[in-house]
């Protein structure tokens, strides 16, 4: 039993109970349906901006080349223009590959002793795979939810839904019925990837050692969001038109909390907690990835001079000025000088 993930799990269960009891028993529809979501959205946007502005106040005077490739040097040495870009165009491509395809995770290697004492690097892509599946499916799920926040629903969203449900998984028995409404792949991939990322943190000893409650909590919370969403779509059906009327009310500032099942409010509360928690957590890597100095600066240290902004303005006395001042005395004392006394200068 590991206290770090038990703590996070208990917190998420507690949040579930707060929302479920708050709605089903206490009937606090307006609190959980209107007040908390608005507050969470506000905290998310303001907190996010605050955090990024705070980061932007740290100067990054010097280029930090990560030694992933040959930097630009002599013309006959081929530079690694993506791994060690010397110009902004290379930086843009490097950032794009990092943000969209998680390139630095893709480069992950594992060290191992292979065949006795032979040291080797192994191709280790599982973290990259789990991570990219999670992020892309979560992104798809979020975009798909815009159908609740737009009226009429833009055509591109309808295409996305079509693409997402193209695999017609259908299964009917006397006990289970799945297939209608159409199965969205993104939801299932999201849940599977989350469970992989969670088990990885629990079972791999080295990863478990560096995992804290702040790592487990978002995982459990997003699992909670995914499970409650999947439940509502396929099993414990809710009145979707009533819910869209409510969400449209939220975005047009005429909200009216509907009296639907507690599970909808649990889903909404989990999302609100995630939004409000976001700016204070590691999830800020969403904003942080754009500001990572090892990725977003061209390595042009040799071509351009970068001045440290917090340098103290030191009063300097160059050798040139020193010699000008003491030239006569130096010559008198027999010391070598770079510039002899000139007739008109002396």
């Amino acid at each position: 039993m590991n206290s770090k993930y038990m703590f996070s799990l208990v917190m998420v269960i507690l949040l579930f109970l707060i929302a479920y009891i708050g709605v089903e028993v206490a009937g606090l529809y307006r609190l959980f349906g209107i007040f908390i979501p608005y507050l969470a959205a506000f905290v998310f946007v303001v907190g996010f901006v605050y955090r990024v502005v705070y980061w932007a106040q740290s100067p990054v005077p010097f280029r930090i080349p990560t030694t992933c490739g040959q930097q630009r040097s002599l013309p006959w040495i081929r530079p690694a223009s993506l791994d060690n870009p010397s110009e902004n165009s290379g930086v843009v491509i490097r950032m794009f590959l990092e943000i969209v395809f998680f390139r630095s995770l893709f480069r992950n290697l594992r060290f191992n002793f292979n065949k006795g004492q032979k040291f080797s690097y192994e191709w280790e892509k599982w973290l990259w795979l789990g991570s990219i599946l999670f992020h892309w499916s979560f992104f798809t799920v979020v975009i798909r939810h815009l159908r609740f926040f737009t009226e009429p629903v833009p055509l591109c969203l309808q295409w996305l839904e079509k693409a997402d449900s193209f695999l017609r998984l259908e299964f009917v028995t006397d006990f289970v019925q799945i297939g209608l409404p159409g199965i969205f792949m993104s939801g299932l991939v999201l849940l599977a990837a989350l469970i992989y990322l969670l088990l990885r943190r629990m079972w791999i000893p080295q990863v478990n050692y560096v995992s804290f409650a702040a790592d487990f909590f978002p995982l459990f919370l997003i699992i909670g969001i995914a499970v409650s969403g999947i439940l509502m779509r396929y099993f414990a059906k809710t009145d979707i038109v009533g819910i869209k009327e409510f969400t449209m009310g939220l975005v047009t500032f005429h909200p009216k909390a509907p009296e639907v099942s507690g599970i909808f409010y649990v889903h909404l509360f989990f999302v609100s907690v995630l939004l409000a928690y976001f700016p204070f957590s590691k999830l800020m890597h969403f904003g942080g990835v754009f500001l990572s100095p090892t990725r977003n600066l061209a390595n042009n240290s040799r071509a351009e001079r970068h001045v440290n902004p917090w340098n103290y303005p030191v009063k300097i006395h160059t050798y040139e000025a020193y010699e000008d001042e003491f030239r006569e005395k130096m010559i008198e004392a027999g010391l070598p000088v770079e510039k002899e006394l000139t007739t008109n200068g002396g």
Binding site: L157, V241, V251, T252
Partner: protein, 135 residues
């Protein structure tokens, strides 16, 4: 925010933040000044006269697609065409002949909610809107 501190690369950071806020608040400005109440459904005289559907209204509202899926399975795989609801009433399991018999106004009944919730059921790939009018 410490005011005495300077923001570095201000132009880029502020531009990025503006884009972020614009994207995040998309649902708010996209729907600015619009009201989007739930669509009102029109019941045909036949549907009004029948008073109740196969299942109670609330169950139909949330779960009609699951009922139809089960009906299809029963009819196509098991050859069973008779459905008995909880109050013991019998129905022929058929979208075209039972459902659309009462709800013959697809565009003012089915489509209104489906469009509102952005659902495009594949029922209509095979079933025609209104079989009765085709005769």
């Amino acid at each position: 925010m410490a005011n005495h501190k300077k923001m570095y690369d201000k132009r880029e950071v502020v531009a990025g933040l503006v884009i972020f806020v614009l994207i995040i608040t998309f649902p708010f400005w996209y729907n600015l000044g619009k009201a989007a109440p739930a669509p009102e459904l029109e019941l045909t005289p036949t549907a009004k006269a029948a008073k109740t559907c196969v299942l109670p209204k609330e169950e139909m509202k949330a779960g009609h697609m699951q009922l139809l899926d089960i009906w299809r399975e029963k009819v196509v795989r098991e050859g069973n065409r008779i459905y008995v609801n909880k109050s013991g009433k019998e129905f022929t399991m058929s979208l075209s002949n039972t459902c659309l018999d009462c709800h013959s106004n697809k565009d003012k009944f089915c489509d209104r909610c489906h469009d509102y919730a952005s659902v495009s059921p594949y029922c209509w790939d095979c079933h025609v809107d209104n079989p009765k009018e085709e005769k």
